[in-house]
């Protein structure tokens, strides 16, 4: 098998905008799945509603494209009813942390054996660029026309605090690191949460002076602070660069997990 064999070719081309990073995240995921020799017919992709959640529709496995925010609850049912299935959830920042926030923390608390890949574009892309709980303070969106006046969620902190076994953050720029991280997550019993910062030039960049894709990607690249470097800065009591966010494996532990295949 190759990565190509995981695609549902009669559904392509996909609906993602030019310059969107979701496609490369799907690629990384399938690369990771394929490298582990997972079987198509033992793997289920589940998603909610939003751009990210269209991903399972392009993958050839059994897949469940569900209601807004509820992907983790549906996935919990799939995994609980059949531990032998590998279950991977695609979600977005709005789907996961706003309408699905309660399911998110409970899935992490249960540490149920799912891999959750969150494409965080900091906006509601599909519905036209409304603010989400991950829209940075000050950022413009159609529902924060004067700038976001609420703080954003740190999804990785949330997942760690709630009990997930594996938590990492990368960006759509860090393709190789991301693929490796997803691979670790897929292998980890319990809940693996992988947050991927991703550009949405259409609905985020356009409103926030990041008109072209390159500007968005370089901004992500330049502000991504490696976990190791971050730890070093903290240890040396040096200042953390403003606007930066930590990338890397943030949590890796082996708490008791639910739904693990025997």
């Amino acid at each position: 098998m190759t990565v190509e064999d995981w695609f549902r070719h009669d559904r392509l081309p996909h609906i993602f905008c030019a310059g969107c990073g979701n496609g490369s995240i799907i690629n990384s995921t399938l690369e990771a799945v394929d490298s582990l020799n997972w079987k198509v017919d033992e793997t289920v992709f589940v998603s909610g509603i939003g751009c990210s959640s269209r991903a399972p529709g392009y993958i050839v496995t059994d897949s469940l494209h569900t209601t807004h925010g509820r992907a983790l609850a549906f996935a919990t049912g799939v995994k609980m009813a059949n531990h032998d299935l590998n279950v991977v959830v695609f979600t977005g920042d709005g789907d996961l942390s706003a309408i699905g926030g309660n399911h998110f923390i409970h899935a992490c608390r249960r540490n149920i054996d799912l891999t959750v890949i969150c494409m965080n574009n900091q906006i509601y892309g599909m519905t036209g660029g409304q603010g989400s709980p991950c829209t940075p303070t000050g950022a413009l969106s159609t529902t924060t026309p004067y700038g976001m006046d609420e703080p954003a969620f740190d999804l990785c902190d949330l997942a760690t605090a709630a009990g997930a076994n594996f938590v990492s953050r990368w960006t759509s720029y860090h393709v190789r690191e991301l693929t490796r991280s997803i691979k670790l997550g897929l292998q980890k019993p319990g809940l693996s949460f992988i947050e991927v910062m991703v550009q949405c030039p259409t609905n985020y960049g356009r409103r926030n002076r990041l008109r072209d894709v390159e500007a968005m990607v370089s901004k992500m690249r330049d502000h991504a602070l490696l976990k190791e470097k971050y730890d070093r800065l903290v240890a040396e009591r040096k200042p953390i660069p403003e606007g930066s966010f930590v990338v890397g494996t943030l949590t890796d532990r082996n708490l008791p997990a639910l739904g693990v295949r025997r």
């Binding site: 589940v46 494209h65 569900t66």
Partner: protein, 366 residues
């Protein structure tokens, strides 16, 4: 060998589910249905099944649908407030043709209402509660024995029509203890598998597609978007959407006479009671207390799809009296199907119509 027990309705429903092969339950505690979840929590692990208490009823319904798609008979149980929360995902189950069972032990509403008292206030919600058009199957038990029998039947109907089926019980029957007989085996009719060469959402002659559970190589994409027979999103095609929605309604509605489950007493009577669920018990007592043959009675065990042809089984009927623990929800449906006056006899607050009350009302229409 039949096993006999003196048992509560909610427990009998859980036992019915287990007998029907239900091996996954996801739920959230809510009065007066919690005994169903508690019993499943105790029993499922002992029969190789799994129980999970979810964070709310939205998640419970979602998990049940997820479980059902692995080919495992899956169920939840709830009451009014939880039922309301389940509505979006119930629509998803209807639209994605997911066979699953929802037990609703109805209590007084709206809102938190009367958690410990009986009602039948969710009869229209179970038919129309989610957005958009669809059809559902609803059963109404009026005894502890029927809590068992009709739970089994709910699974079979859900599988046959690939649709959510609702056991619309109430607090009285849910908490009542009575003698109940458990047969050694019950009839279980699993969903029809997909035939070679058919698409996952391509209907057979009865308008129901063969089932394609996950993990069996069907590689099916299931979406709540309007989808074509392959299961792929096609949400902007007006004709396809219309055809799909009409088929989902028609596959259930066209079977309404065939699957009808009812009792008829005194078909020659001129004054006829129509009831379902616990008021049936009051009507039966009223008929015993009245002069023989004076009043007719139609008891419905399947309420949706509504078997309107049964009204014709009372050729002399001048009036239909419909006692319900709501403001006349099914009476509205009956009105649509007959020329005779339909008198709604609502009872709210948790008390049941007494037989004497029913006789007094019937006397007015003699």
């Amino acid at each position: 060998m039949t096993r006999v027990d003196f048992m509560q309705g909610n427990i009998a429903s859980a036992e019915g589910a287990l007998a029907a092969g239900c091996r996954f339950f996801a739920g959230y505690p809510i009065t007066p249905s919690s005994e169903v979840a508690e019993h499943m929590a105790r029993r499922l692990p002992k029969v190789g099944g799994r129980f999970i208490q979810m964070e709310d009823e939205i998640a419970s319904m979602a998990a049940v649908i997820g479980g059902a798609w692995t080919g495992v008979r899956s169920m939840t149980a709830t009451s009014g407030p939880g039922f309301s929360l389940m509505m979006e995902n119930i629509g998803y189950a209807a639209f994605t043709e997911t066979p699953c069972v929802v037990v609703n032990i109805q209590r007084g509403g709206p809102s938190t209402g009367q958690p410990t008292l009986a009602a039948q206030g969710d009869m229209l919600q179970c038919r129309f509660g989610s957005h958009g058009d669809y059809s559902t199957i609803a059963l109404a038990p009026s005894s502890v024995q029927e809590m068992f029998d009709l739970t089994v039947k709910s699974f079979n109907l859900a599988d046959r029509f690939r649709a959510p089926a609702f056991l619309m019980a109430d607090e009285i029957i849910g908490h009542l203890r009575e003698r109940v007989e458990f047969p050694d085996t019950v009839e279980c009719t699993p969903p029809r598998p997909i035939r070679e060469g058919m698409l996952p959402f391509e209907p057979e002659e009865d308008l129901v597609p063969g089932f394609t559970p996950f993990g069996h190589g069907h590689r099916v994409h299931v979406t709540g978007l309007t989808h074509n027979e392959k299961g792929y999103p096609a949400s902007t095609d007006p004709d396809l959407h219309e055809r799909l929605v009409m088929r989902l309604i028609e596959k259930v509605e066209r079977a309404r006479h065939e699957i009808a489950d009812y009792d008829i007493e005194n078909p020659d009577a001129e004054v006829v009671f129509i009831s379902y669920g616990v008021p049936t018990r009051s009507v039966r007592q009223a008929l015993l207390d009245a002069p023989e043959g004076l009043y007719g009675h139609l008891n419905l065990r399947i309420v949706w799809p509504f078997p309107e042809n049964l009204l014709k089984k009372f050729p002399n009927a001048r009036v239909f009296l419909v006692p319900e623990l709501n403001m006349g929800q099914m009476a509205r449906e009956i009105v649509r199907h007959c020329d005779q006056p339909v008198i709604s006899l609502p009872r709210l607050g948790g008390e049941l119509h007494t037989p004497q009350y029913l006789l007094d009302r019937a006397e007015e229409y003699r």
